[in-house]
Structures are given as C-alpha cells and as structure tokens.
C-alpha cells in the first residue's frame, strides 16, 4: 500500500494543475461568453466580402 504515498500526492499535483488552468481560463474571459464562439465555426476564415450572389445595384 505504500504506493499510495506517491500516487495521492501525484493526484493532488494534477488537481492543482487543473485548478490553475481553470483559474487562468476564467481570468482570461474564456467563460464570459459561452454562446457566440460556437457560431465562429460556421464562419469562413476570410473576412466577409461583398455578397457573392449577383447583385447589380450593390453599392459595396
């Protein structure tokens, strides 16, 4: 059972690392907005340009 003296501190180190990562993420604003970043996947990488469809009177 003496392996526990190694494994439990190791586990605690992992937990501490996870908490540190979570604190960093929260402080960085990763949890401030959980809705709109999902839409960015649908977005093309290019900056939105003029409407691709035919549009003779397009002012842009």
């Amino acid at each position: 059972m003496s392996i526990l003296y190694v494994l439990i501190p190791l586990g605690l180190v992992l937990v501490a690392f996870g908490l540190w990562a979570f604190f960093w993420a929260a402080g960085d604003g990763q949890f401030d907005d959980l809705d709109s970043p999902g839409w960015s996947v649908l977005d093309d990488d290019r900056r939105p340009g003029p409407d691709p469809s035919p549009k003779p009177d397009d002012p842009a």
């Binding site: 059972m1 526990l4 003296y5 439990i8 586990g11 605690l12 937990v15 996870g18 908490l19 979570f22 604190f23 929260a26 402080g27 604003g29 949890f31 401030d32 907005d33 809705d35 709109s36 999902g38 839409w39 960015s40 649908l42 977005d43 900056r47 939105p48 340009g49 003029p50 409407d51 469809s53 035919p54 549009k55 009177d57 397009d58 002012p59 842009a60």
Partner: protein, 829 residues
C-alpha cells in the same frame, strides 16, 4: 389581423396588406414590412453579412424609424471621444456600448462582423448575455460616430456607456464565483475519493498509518474549499449579524465551520470522526445554486441599462446664439438647450421659449401629453412631442427626477424578496432548535457516558445538518431557472417561480402585451388610380411635420422622402400640404373630401394635436387631393398571433385573464373578444389599475400582471408576479420578476406549468428532508448512529434532493408551437 399575412423578411412582423416593399437580398426580392426594415436588410446583405439570416434563431427587432443623419455626429467631437472612451496602447481608443435589439448569438455575430468590416477597427468583442460590445479603434482612421452609425444601420441601436464600472464589477463577480465553484467542485471530488476507502476501511480494518495519511490529505484538500470557496457565506453571515438580522448564510456558515473545525481537531488529534466530505459537498452545491441565481440576476439587466436607454446621451446646447451638439454629461445647471420635436430632454429644466406638449408617461404613467408654456418645468427622459422648446437646465445627471426614480427602483431591487426572508427565518429557527438539541444531547451523554458524548453530539449535528433541507428549495429553483432560460424566460427573482405556481388571476395591460404595442399601417386601399406605395409615400411626406402619434405609423412604413411644403395642421382633422406639386390632405374622411369639393378653411398653423383618431385600436385615415379621395389606410395595433392560444391555455390551467387598459372601451372590447377574455376594464389610469389589483389581492387572489410600458410599472410592482415583455421598456423590465425575452407569449402557459412542477418538486424535497431528519435524529441522539453513517445518510439525502430537482431541467421540453415566421425562411437562399 389575418393570420396568413406574409411575415417581414427582417423583423417577422406581418406585412400590411396592399403594401409591396421588397428588399433586394442575395439577388432575390424578399418582402419587408417597412422601409426601415428594407434599409437594414439591404445593408446587412450588401455588406456580405447575409449569413446572419441563416444563423439567427429569433426574428430581429423592427427597424422603426429611419436613422436621423445627425444623430451620431455629436460623437465625432474629440472632447466627447476623450470623455467617453478609454485610451489603449498605440493611440487607439476603446468604448463599451449597450446594443438595443441584440437578442441572440447571430445578432452578436452580425455586430462583430459589421464593425470588423470598417477600416480602423482593431478589436470587437460582443457579449450576447449582457448585450454589450467593446470596441477598440484607431481614431486616426475612423470616427466613433461612423462606427455607431454602422451599428444602427444593421438594426442594433447603440447606447454608449461612459466608463461603466458596474458591468466590469459584475464580470469580475461572475469570474470570482466561477473560481470558487471550481475549487469546491474539484475539492469535493478529491475528498469523496478519500472518504470511500475511509468508510470501508472502518468496517474491514485498515492500516492505521494509511488511515491517518488519508485523513490528513482530506484535511489538506478541504482547507481551500472551506476557507476560499466558502468565504462568501461567511461574509454574508457577518454582514447579516452586524445588521442584527439572520440570513440563510448564518446557519450555513455555522454548519460549515462547526463540521470543519471538528474535523480538523479530530484529524490533528488522530481519532474521532471527520466530515470533510460533507463540508465540501455542502459548499459546492450551495455555491452552485448561488451561481445560477447570480447569472440570472445579471442577465435580467441592471437599472443602469434602463437609465442609459431612457436618458439621451447628447443634447443641443445654445451658447451665444450658436447651437452645438454636446454630450449630456457636459451639461450644467444654467445651460440653455434647444429640444426639437421628437427629441428627449437630457436634463430637468424650465421652458424659456416655445409652447408645446411633452409626453411624460415614463414618469407619471399619464399617456396624454402635457402642455408646456414658458415657465413650466420639464424632466429628463420625457419626450417632446410638440414644437421646439428652449429650456434652461435646472438639474442634471444624479439630481433629476428620473434618477430619483431609478435610485428608488435600485433599492427595491436590492431588497431581498419577502419569501426568501421568510425561508431565512424558518431556517434560523430550525438551526436554533438543532443547536439547543445538540447541547442537550451532549449534556445527557456527558452524564451517562462521557466517552461517547462528542460522537453522539456530532452525529446529531451532522445528521440534522439542514443540508437536504436547505438544498431542497435552491436546487429546484436553480434547475427551473435554467430550464426556463432555455425557453427564453428570464427569472429576475427566483421566488417568483414559487408565487407563479400559486397564481390565481392574470391582469393584462392590453397594449404591448396582447397586442404588439405599435400603431401600424395595416392595410392600404387605393381609392383612385394611384399605386399604394406612392400613396403611402405621399402620406409620409405630409405626416413628417405632424407630431400626432398616428404620424409615427406612417413614418415607419413609408419611404423616406422630403417633407411636404406649405403644410398646415388642422387640429382634430388632419394635415394639408403640397407634395410633388399636388395639394393633398390626410386625415378624417370629411376633412379630406372637402378639398375635392369645396374651398378649404384657412389652415391653422398652430402646432397642436389632432385629437380625433388617437384611439390605439383600429382606425381609418384618408388621403385625398383636389380631385377626390386617393387612398385609405387602416391603422391598427395588431393582436399578437399567439395571444388567443395563450389566454385559452392559461384559462385551462385555472388562470382567468382580465384586461386592465387605459384605452377606449371599444378598442379593449375588440381585443377582449378576439382573445376570448370576458372581464375587462377600459379607460383605467395607472392608479385605477393598481386599485383593481389591490381589490383582487384583498379577496385572496394571487395576481400575475403582464405589462410592457413604463406606465405599467406601478401595476407590475404591486403584483405578486410581474411579467414584462422582452421588447418593453427597460424600466418595466427592472420592476419585473419574469421577462419574456423572445417577446412572445407562447411560453407563458408552459412557464406556469413548470412553476407548478417546481413547486411539487420542492414539496417532495422538503418532505423527504424533514422525514429523513425526523427519523435519524432520535437514533443519532441515542448514539445508535456513528457519525460516519450520519455523514453518508446526510450526503445521500442531499443527493436524492438534487437528483429530484434535476428532473425539472430534463423531462418534458415542449418545443415552441410556432417558429418565428421569418427565421426559417432564408434557408433556401
């Protein structure tokens, strides 16, 4: 309104019959309801942002009035930019704006993209939860006024917030709460992991060194949970005790600290029970409930938002005969302002010059305009409907009548709701008994067998720890709040769910709730050989000089053109003027017909109202020229399509509806008949409405009030449950318990049902918790339950309570019966 009317491509509202306005979107002509929507839809797709119409999940806000070109130019002045924005590295500036009409993630995508397209914009972040956008731009490349104009062009009206600290505070509060929650959650998992072998080791025999080791590690993990994650509870308890009152935080803190200190003591001395698992679980679940509640509170919108929307940011100051646009915060008492027709007063003041009428409904609830002559006072936030006024400023910013009202509302909002206070008293009473009981048990055992006294006392404390009891209500409410938020119902005060479940009566303020609250041109009927959209354009030209409420319907519907010339307003009858070389009249039938048949009486140029067709129900307005009538316009405040079903479903749930309206009885009767509502009151002042409410409450009724306007604020505040519409005034929302975010009534019956289910779950939870405590208490007091078993029992009873509450967030999730009319359409594009 016919239910089959085509919905507007942009805002989803029905298009007036006979009107053919089309927006050119992705090479196709899409029908829209007005030129405001046409402009917005074409601007959005023209900028390559047409994807917005595919992503959005609710229809957009109707683009009411065409943008006034000079509205944003005040923001181009460097000293305003200086005051309103913050400096960023490399000479850039940043600003936070509140976006009105931002309703879903697609809206925030739209705002983000529309701004990113502008050259000189360095960074944009839009938060749909708080409807705020932060933008960073290079002032050398683009002006702030232009950016704000772009936002208005895509249909999201911006309200710049000058260095708003409260939003930043709320954000930090959320982040801090999230961190504490993470510590509690992680810690709880770890401690549970050690608790299981400790429990089983107790039964099967465990190496004492390992046992000591695990207890020590449990303590180590629990210390941050109890001290850091539990800190807000101690803080709350301390504040409550200092104010000589007892809040829920007091028993919670006592429970946590007692169990924690006892466990630490037992760990250090090497024997005795430890309760770290209970402590961490307690902190985690209570923190979770508080977190969900806080998110709901932040979302419901602060009073600061309301003020930002009501009071204008800019004003027109007259100095040495020169008028200039300045920011409202620059004003000082003694300044002279020019407030033009249709503008909002930026400060309190006294009229110096001009005679006109002012809409003060947001302050007084009085819907008819108040006449103003030199010497009378005007107030910040009220609307100038009449002729331009010159005003001497008497009070600004924090000293105005409006800010006084806002401060009152803020205090009312901060007060704990009465049910929560009652629950706190009950919990405090319960805890008092437990402490006395535990002391008694300790004394008796000390007399009988001192060696078992501490264990038995702790077992009593732990087994009766009001864990399940205190979790019973918050977990159920949190689950219900989350489930409702997914359906577009925001709970601003959680105890509203409990009250809603007991509700017996519904009071509707008709305008804006059962109806849409906007007078619109519903039907255009050509009476001569003139196309209907041409007639509408003429009507708008004529009405541009008028300040009549009905004129606004035309301004929203018609194409933006120059005003008519030679305009004369005939009070009570209509308007006459010359458009495109034709002499035209708009107004009552007789008035318009006179022009064609006989000489017109001399126009009275006195800018006063036409009082005739002010009924917000249905009315006809005619347009004619010298050769007779040209067109007729039917104006209505259309009924919401879902109103009838909603009223019927609510009646089936035992909630009869009643209309209390300030409108004409004919208009009220018409709407009541269409909705199937029997009881109604017309021509009621806000005080009458409140009296009707008090009368019902005196008879023992629990009343739900639904309103949207500022003049409904007294009714909403007096009601047991106040429901505000998502597009209603911001002040109405701040006095509401529930906000229908999607501005649709169809979720209301489901909300009542969920509230009742929540109430049932709370009762089950309470019954279970009390039953468990009653059964376990005597056994623990007799020393038959070792503390570790008590801890398991307590944890299990808590788990049962939490799982029962979670049923609310799963289970029946009825989809909205009708999708938003415009939302699905562009999928084929």
């Amino acid at each position: 309104m016919t239910p089959v009317a085509t919905p507007c491509f942009h805002c989803g509202e029905p298009i007036p019959r006979g009107l053919a306005i089309h927006a050119r979107v992705s090479g196709r002509d899409e029908p829209v309801c007005c030129h405001g929507c046409k402009a917005v839809a074409e601007f959005i797709t023209g900028a390559g942002l047409g994807d917005y119409y595919r992503y959005r999940d609710t229809a957009s806000t109707r683009a009411d009035e065409p943008a006034r070109p000079d509205r944003w130019s005040a923001y181009d002045r460097p000293e305003l930019v200086e005051r309103l924005t913050r400096a960023e590295p490399n000479g850039a500036r940043s600003i936070t704006v509140l976006l009105e009409g931002l309703r879903c993630a697609a809206c925030s995508w739209l705002a983000d993209k529309a701004l990113s397209l502008q050259s000189g914009v360095l960074d944009v972040s839009v938060n749909p939860a708080t409807a705020r956008a932060r933008l960073v731009w290079d002032p050398d490349k683009v002006r702030l006024g232009d950016l704000l104009r772009v936002l208005e062009q895509v249909g999201l009206r911006p309200h710049p917030l000058a260095g708003e600290p409260s939003e930043q505070l709320a954000l930090l509060e959320r982040r801090a709460a999230l961190k504490r929650l993470a510590v509690a959650g992680f810690g709880n998992m770890q401690v549970m992991m050690f608790a299981v072998p400790l429990y089983f080791g107790e039964a099967s025999g465990m190496d004492p060194t390992i046992r000591e080791y695990m207890r020590l590690v449990s303590m180590l993990v629990s210390i941050p949970v109890a001290l850091y994650a539990g800190w807000p509870f101690y803080q709350g308890a301390w504040h409550a005790l200092r104010a000589r009152s007892i809040s829920m935080d007091v028993p919670v803190s006592l429970g946590i600290l007692l169990a924690f200190v006892a466990s630490v003591w037992n760990t250090l001395r090497g024997h005795g029970e430890i309760y770290f698992d209970s402590v961490t679980m307690f902190v985690f679940f209570l923190g979770l409930g508080r977190y969900v509640e806080m998110i709901a509170r932040h979302r419901a919108g602060s009073v600061a938002d309301a003020l930002a929307r009501l009071a204008p940011m800019t004003a027109r100051r007259v100095r040495a005969g020169q008028a200039e646009d300045v920011q409202a915060v620059e004003l000082a008492p003694g300044d002279e302002l020019l407030v033009r027709t249709g503008e909002v007063f930026a400060a309190d003041g006294t009229v110096l010059e001009g005679e006109g009428r002012v809409d003060e409904s947001m302050l007084t609830g009085e819907s008819t305009a108040i006449a103003k002559v030199p010497g009378t006072g005007v107030h910040q936030g009220t609307h100038n409907l009449g002729a331009p006024l010159r005003v001497r400023v008497t009070a600004v910013a924090g000293n105005t009548v409006l800010s006084g009202i806002v401060a009152l509302l803020e205090r009312a909002q901060a007060e704990r709701p009465r049910i929560a206070r009652a629950a706190d008293r009950a919990a405090a009473w319960f805890l008092g008994r437990i402490l006395v009981g535990a002391a008694l048990v300790f004394a008796i055992w000390w007399y009988v067998d001192p060696s078992r006294a501490f264990a038995a006392t702790l077992a009593v404390l732990v087994v009766t720890c009001p864990c399940a009891l205190s979790l019973a209500t918050p977990t159920a409410l949190a689950a219900a709040t989350a489930a409702l938020a997914r359906r577009g119902v925001l709970i601003a005060r959680t105890d509203a769910v409990e009250t809603l479940a007991r509700a017996t009566h519904l009071l509707w303020d008709k305008t804006g709730t059962l109806t849409r609250g906007l007078v619109r041109v519903e039907d255009v009927r050509a009476l001569a050989d003139v196309p209907s959209d041409r007639a509408l354009a003429w009507a708008e030209s004529l009405e541009q000089m008028s300040e009549h409420p009905i004129a606004r319907a035309f301004l929203a519907a018609g194409e933006a053109r120059g005003p008519a010339s030679d305009v004369g307003v005939h009070p009570g009858r209509g308007v006459e003027g010359v458009v495109e070389g034709r002499r035209l009249r708009i107004g009552t039938h007789d008035f318009v017909e006179e022009l064609g048949t006989g000489p017109s009486p001399g126009p009275s140029v006195a800018a006063d109202t036409a009082t005739d067709a002010a009924t917000p129900g249905e009315s006809w307005v005619y347009l004619g020229g010298e050769h007779g009538l040209l067109a007729a316009f039917r104006l209505t405040d259309p009924l919401r399509p879902e109103a009838r079903d909603c009223v019927r479903d609510l009646a089936a749930l035992g909630l009869p509806s009643e209309i209390v309206s300030g409108d004409e009885s004919s208009a009220v009767a018409r709407i009541a008949a269409r909705c199937g509502i029997e009881r109604r009151g017309a021509r009621l002042s806000p005080a009458d409405k409140l009296q009707r409410l008090k009368h019902l409450q005196a008879e023992g009724a629990v009343v739900v009030a639904i309103g949207d306007g500022i003049n409904d604020a007294p009714l909403l505040r007096g009601a047991d449950v106040a429901v505000a519409m998502g597009r209603g005034s911001a002040l109405a929302q701040t006095s509401a318990d529930l906000i229908l975010v999607r501005d649709s009534l169809e979720v209301l019956p489901a909300t009542v049902e969920l509230a009742r289910r929540t109430q049932r779950v709370i009762r089950q939870n309470l019954a279970w918790a009390i039953l468990y405590n009653l059964a376990a208490l005597p056994l623990a007091a007799l020393g038959l339950i070792p503390p570790w078993l008590a801890a398991i029992g307590m944890s299990l009873s808590s788990v049962v309570v939490v799982l029962n509450a979670m049923r609310l967030s799963r289970g029946s999730k009825p989809r909205p019966r009708a999708e938003w009319p415009g939302a699905g359409q562009p999928e084929t594009a």
